[in-house]
């Protein structure tokens, strides 16, 4: 089971209250529009949860710092990827809505999407492996299990 409050850390910045506050604000924001929740809303509801979990399960300050550094790099890659995908999705929607869009245009867009996804795969595969190397097997399992418990939140979308 997860601890309710993380162990005090002597060697790392105590930024987790800020992150928790940010996550709380995002959850509140998502919940305020519960009737219109989209899959992206649910992603926001869960946003930061993994970071929170990492801080809870990794008790060793040095490894906690190391995991935080990997995650920070990971976040930068995520933001870059998210921005690119938002642009591609906007382009896709415009083409979808346009009566005269040709098959060739859709094929070109599909190639762009695939290429960007594969580039992102390369980035996060490295980070995931590094993160697994930092965490003890039990800690990794615990973090993953918490993420699986979050599935219930996702399944609410279907209701």
């Amino acid at each position: 089971m997860l601890k309710n409050s993380p162990e005090p850390s002597t060697g790392t910045p105590r930024r987790w209250p800020i992150h928790v506050a940010i996550v709380g604000a995002l959850v509140a924001l998502a919940c305020s529009s519960h009737k219109h929740r989209t899959i992206e809303d649910v992603a926001l509801e869960s946003s930061g949860r993994f970071k929170e979990v990492l801080q809870e399960v990794v008790s060793d300050p040095a490894r906690s710092t190391q995991a935080g550094a990997v995650f920070a790099r990971y976040q930068a890659q995520q933001l870059s990827y998210a921005a690119d995908m938002a642009d591609l999705k906007a382009a896709a929607l415009a083409k979808y809505n346009a009566y005269d869009t040709t098959d060739e245009e859709f094929d070109a867009l599909a190639a762009q999407l695939k290429s960007r996804r594969e580039a992102f795969r390369d980035e996060i595969s490295d980070d995931l492996v590094e993160l697994m190397g930092v965490l003890e097997p039990g800690e990794w399992t615990e973090a993953i299990n918490v993420m699986l418990e979050e599935e219930d939140r996702w399944k609410e979308l279907k209701q």
Binding site: H19, I22, V23, L26, T38, I39, E40, D41, A43, L44, S46, S47, G48, R49, F50, K51, Y74, Q75, Q78, L79, Y81, A82, A83, M85, A86, D87, K89, A90, L93, Y96, N97, A98, Y99, A110, L113, K114, R117, E118, F120, R121, D122, I124, S125, D126, L128, V129, M132, P137, W140, T141, I144, N145, M147, L148, E150, E151, W154, K155, L157, K158
Partner: protein
């Protein structure tokens, strides 16, 4: 764009990565009203209307399947990376499976769009996708 506002400038996590990479591009386009309703309003010819509404309904049904698939992929991915002995090759292979599935979903969406387009005149199409208020 809604997608942009929900992905930029926010804290990100595994979940957000996964929804970004797993989230396909299914959408019905146009405004808030259900696509089938907008198509039904736009097409006056009764014969084409029934076929067009059926095609629009198929697009809307696919939207629900998209969510189911994302949830399944998400769960499957976490189980895979949480399994004993997982390595980079397995992670990459799992993501490759999802990328391929996404491509398949998107091809299916384009096929459904093509079915709808075949039933609509350009002006009707414009009414559905432009007259509905855009995104």
């Amino acid at each position: 764009m809604e997608q942009r506002s929900s992905t930029q400038g926010s804290t990100t996590s595994f979940h957000q990565v996964l929804i970004i990479i797993f989230g396909s591009l299914f959408f019905a386009g146009g405004g808030e009203a259900p696509l089938a309703d907008r198509v039904g309003d736009a097409v006056t010819d009764s014969d084409r209307r029934a076929k067009a509404v059926a095609a629009a309904s198929a697009i809307e049904a696919a939207l629900g399947k998209d969510i189911d698939a994302v949830i399944d992929w998400h769960e499957d991915f976490f189980k895979a990376i949480g399994a004993a002995g997982v390595d980079e090759a397995k992670i990459r292979g799992k993501i490759d499976e999802i990328i391929e599935d996404l491509g398949q979903f998107e091809r299916q969406q384009l096929s459904l769009r093509s079915d709808l387009r075949a039933q609509l005149e350009p002006s009707e199409w414009s009414e559905v996708f432009d007259g509905g208020g855009g995104d």
